[in-house]
Each structure stands twice: as structure tokens, then as C-alpha cells.
Symmetry: C2
């Protein structure tokens, strides 16, 4: 839940004057998303989301993210569409932050994942990957395997404060993952953070995907591995293979997985687990005083990581 | 900013089935309000607010609050109107919490108070007090003068951790305030928490009042004193007498203040300052681990309190 930057009504009115959106009707902070400040905004033209990009987003990446969202929306993916101001620019400045208005998507994100969410998710993920083709610019994944050693190095000295033996366990796991990281798999633009709070459903149908601010150009199947971690584990950290199978089959029905992609699934899942474990561990150990957001427990992903390290092959995921 | 209780889509759908509001369209946590969980809810019937009452609200008080809102709305005060389910009840249960749906109010709360906000505020406050007449049930103010000594006693042992000498300063101030607390002033139903984030404006007009969950039956002019503390001080904690005068004159134009009410203004302002100082001090010293809400600094109200203690009479407020 997050509103880091308070926008005065004067600043907002001045900001809106650059758009053809009519007058301001309502403006409320949204208690979701942990990286940026999000407001629900109603004007004479309808409902929108106003996002102020906070310090963890590199402003140089913003044109790429907004361009990707436009590209995907034009290809039929239901995602927030950046709204252009009268001068044509979608990316602007408000209260000293880069800011953009995007369209409002109806729907509700599932607080509790059920098996029937997972096939629509897999289908939408494959559609996203196919629709990304043709968006020329690329973005290096700043949280990919090359970045994990440095991320671990920042947390290793205090990792055992979180759990005894964690530093050594992560050293060994990371060495294993990097040694087995697959080369040559199909790449493209991935969402890279498609957790349940970024996927809306309406009347049991998937109604939209949001929050593309971790998107990057990387191994497509790595996005599947992220979703398996994010959607298919129960509260006791056991894998729900019904959910994983539904996700994988629906994905494969739209974009068939190669034998190499299937075989890489365990190590990709290990990588996805360690990626979220490492950022959560960093946030846990580097929580600023007076933080607005309570850091999430990194240990949930340690338990997922152990599962994936023990998985003999892709059949562990219901393939 | 607050969402303390996550509502699953299944629980929400079952909850909505008891209302004639059509199907669920959207549901987002609102990053405002610190006592309850608030969601913006869109259904086939339009926009609403869903509130789950958290532990600081006494469930026994809820019928009184909702009844007051209905009474006020019927008398022309723009405030959230509780929505009744098919069985006639507005107060229901969701995820183990008492919960209610109320109407959505357009408008934006002023992040930065300007003098032109204060006359509409004073006028709306007087209208609220007049409209409250005729709502028969009463509610004792649980944060009134009788409650301040116990509140201070809970924080006194560690008060000097916040500021050296604070315990002694508060002892003296509270003794002074209680010795001079006025009797015989007109009473009625007061909002008791009319800070800027509870007042919406639209096109420079006041468009609604929200959050009646501290409302009580108490001295009407105490509500004015709360508003002076909440709206009329600058960031350097100096009183902006232009704002206070605008508030008081607009209030008096709708509900004239008696000589006794005017004369009591300094001590009522002292009382309002110490009331918020004491609850903030308590929250500051009793912050739970992993709290979702960062406590507000109590010292802002110490500086207001000192101003009011030094005010010779009501003329200090522009009267």
C-alpha cells in the first residue's frame, strides 16, 4: 500500500490542464503497489490512474515501459494505456516526480488464488509474450541472473540474522542456479512481476494486467517460472500441481513450449525464487526508519527455492 | 493509509449478493484513513465505499454513527449515506469484521489548506451542527476532557522520551484546561475529527464531509476548536488568523456564537490541541511492531497547545 508523494489539488489541477480530460471530479490514493505512488483519478472524461514514479524506478526506463504498454494495448492485451497530454507526451512531471496518467481497468485481483484462475493466467501470459513481438526497443532485466550475485553480496553479512545458515544456503543455491542457467531459450519482453495483485478478474474472466514497471527483455519461460512461484504455492509452501498444470497447459496451448524450455523449468523456477528472495531479503535488512511499507518476509521464497532445487524435472510441475 | 483486512473476491461476491447493487466491477484499497479498512467499490449500480471497521471502533457505536450519517444526509448534509442490504440492514459482517457500504462522494481533500477553504468549512460545520438537531440518540465523547487524565497517565512514564520535560508540561497544561473547562455551552452532535482529509472540495466548493467515526454529543464550539487546530496553523505552527477569521465568521453567519462560546474559544482550542496531542503521543509510544501506519508526530500539537495557552482571549483567533 503506497502513497509516497502527496499531490496538492492546485498542482493536480495545473497538471490536468495539459490534458483534454475535462475537470477534476475525484482523487484518492490507492493502497496497492509498493514501488510508486498511485491515485485513482476521476475527471469529466472518466476514470484513470495517476502514477508518480518513485525513486526505485529509473526515469530513463519509463519511455520503454510506457511504449511497451501502448504496443501491447494496440495488440489486444488489456493493460493500462498511457494517456497523452495535448502536446503528445504521456510522460510528464508532477510534484518533482515523473508521472503518467493511464486508463482505469475494471476488475478485482484475487486475494486468494484458486485453480480456475491459473488457466486464464497462463493464456494471458502467452498472449502477452506473443504480442510483445514487434516492439523493437529492449530493456536489460536489471534483476536477472547477472545481478543476483551483487544483490546477495549486499545482504550476505546480515543474512543469518534472518535465519541461521541462510548465507551459506544462498551461496550454494546461487552457484548451482548460475551453473545451470539455460542459454539459447526464446527471449522477448516479459512482465517479470505478474503476481496476483497485478492481474484483474471480472465475472471469472481475466480482465486486465497491470504494473509493467519490472518488465524487461529476457527468457520468456522465466516469466512462466515467476508465475509458478507467485500463483501456485499454498500457504504452507507446498506446490499445488493442479494450479501449475493449468497454468502451463493454457500457456502451451497458445504458445507451445519447446523441449528445451520444458527441461529448463526447474532451474528457471529456482532462479525466480531466488530473485524474489534476494530483493525481499535486501528490503528486509535495509528497511528505512519510518517506512510506509512493511517489508515482506523473504523466507517464503526460501521455502519455494528448496522445493525447486529438489524438483527432479519438469514433471514436478504437472507437465 | 490503511487496508488492514484483505477481502477475498469470493467473500466480497457473497457479501454483495445480499444487496441490490448489481455485479462487482472493481475493488481497490484506499490509502486513506487510519482507523478502518476502506475500499473503493464499483458495482453495476455505481460507485461506493466499503468500510471494514477495525478494532479501535467499538461495534456498539456503529449503529449510532450510521444513524447519524443517515439523519444528516436526509437533512441536506453531503456525507456518505449508508446503503441498506435487501433485508434492510446497513451494518453487516465481512471477513469477521463489522462492515458497511456507503455512497461515494466526489471531490478532493485539500492537501494544502488555503484561506478560501476556511469559510466553506465554517459554513458546513455550522450546517452540520444545526442538521444534527433532532437526531435523538446521543454518544458520549470517549475522547473528551473526562478521558484526558487517563490517556495522559498511559503515556506519562515515557513522555519525556519524546521531548524532555513533556510530562511536566502536559500535567500543568491539563490541570489548567480542566480547571477552566466551560460548563453550560450549547451541545449537540459534533464531527470531532474534521481534519482536511475528511473534507472534499470540487471546483472550489465544499462537496462533502466524511469519516464520522469519532462523532459524539459534546460542546458544539469544541468542534470549531478542533477545526481551528486542524485547518488554521501553518507548517511553522503559527496561527494563520486569516484562516481562523474566515472559519469563525462563516460559522457564525449560519449559527451565531454566544458571548460565552466566544469567550471559551481559547480553552476549547487548548482542549482540542491536548486531545490530539494525547492520542498521538499514545500511538507514538505504543506503536506495534510491523504497524502499517506510521504514527504522526505528537509535537505538532504541543506547539499548537502552547499557542492557545498564550492566547489572551478570543480576539487571538480573529473574532
Amino acid at each position: 500500500m503506497a502513497v509516497y508523494t502527496e499531490v496538492s489539488d492546485e498542482a493536480l489541477t495545473a497538471f490536468l490542464a495539459d490534458y483534454d480530460l475535462g475537470g477534476l471530479v475525484a482523487f484518492r490514493g490507492i493502497a496497492e503497489g509498493v514501488e510508486n505512488s498511485n491515485y485513482s483519478l476521476r475527471t469529466g472524461a472518466g476514470d484513470f490512474i495517476l502514477t508518480l514514479y518513485e525513486k526505485r524506478v529509473d526515469p530513463n526506463d519509463l519511455p520503454w515501459f510506457l511504449g511497451l504498454m501502448e504496443h501491447l494495448a494496440r495488440r489486444g492485451i488489456v493493460c493500462p494505456l498511457p494517456v497523452h497530454a495535448r502536446d503528445g507526451a504521456a510522460l510528464r512531471t508532477l510534484c518533482g516526480r515523473r508521472a503518467a496518467i493511464t486508463t482505469f481497468l475494471p476488475g478485482v485481483w484475487p486475494r486468494r488464488v484458486r485453480p480456475e484462475h491459473c488457466a486464464p493466467l497462463g493464456d494471458a501470459l502467452a498472449a502477452l509474450h506473443l504480442a510483445g513481438t514487434g516492439y523493437g526497443p529492449t530493456r536489460r532485466n536489471a534483476l536477472g541472473p547477472d545481478d543476483w550475485p551483487a544483490l546477495l553480496a549486499h545482504s550476505r553479512p546480515r543474512a543469518d540474522d534472518v535465519q541461521t545458515g541462510l548465507a551459506a544456503e544462498l551461496d550454494a543455491a546461487l552457484a548451482h542456479i548460475l551453473a545451470h542457467w539455460p542459454g539459447g531459450l526464446p527471449t522477448g519482453h516479459i512482465h517479470a512481476d505478474l503476481f496476483p495483485d497485478n492481474v484483474f478478474f471480472l465475472n471469472s474472466k481475466l480482465s486486465g494486467l497491470i504494473d509493467f514497471y519490472f518488465a524487461a527483455t529476457d527468457i520468456l519461460a522465466f516469466d512462466i517460472a515467476i508465475c509458478i512461484n507467485a500463483w501456485c504455492f499454498e500457504a504452507d509452501m507446498s506446490l499445488n500441481v493442479t494450479k501449475a498444470r493449468a497454468l502451463l497447459h493454457a500457456y502451451g496451448a497458445r504458445r507451445p513450449l519447446s523441449a528445451a524450455e520444458r527441461a529448463a523449468l526447474p532451474v528457471l523456477c529456482q532462479g525466480a525464487a531466488i530473485r524474489f528472495l534476494l530483493t525481499r531479503l535486501f528490503d528486509w535488512l535495509h528497511k528505512p526508519a519510518g517506512a510506509l511499507v512493511t517489508p515482506k518476509d523473504p523466507r517464503e521464497f526460501l521455502r519455494r527455492l528448496r522445493f525447486h532445487l529438489a524438483a527432479p524435472d519438469e514433471h514436478a510441475y504437472g507437465l
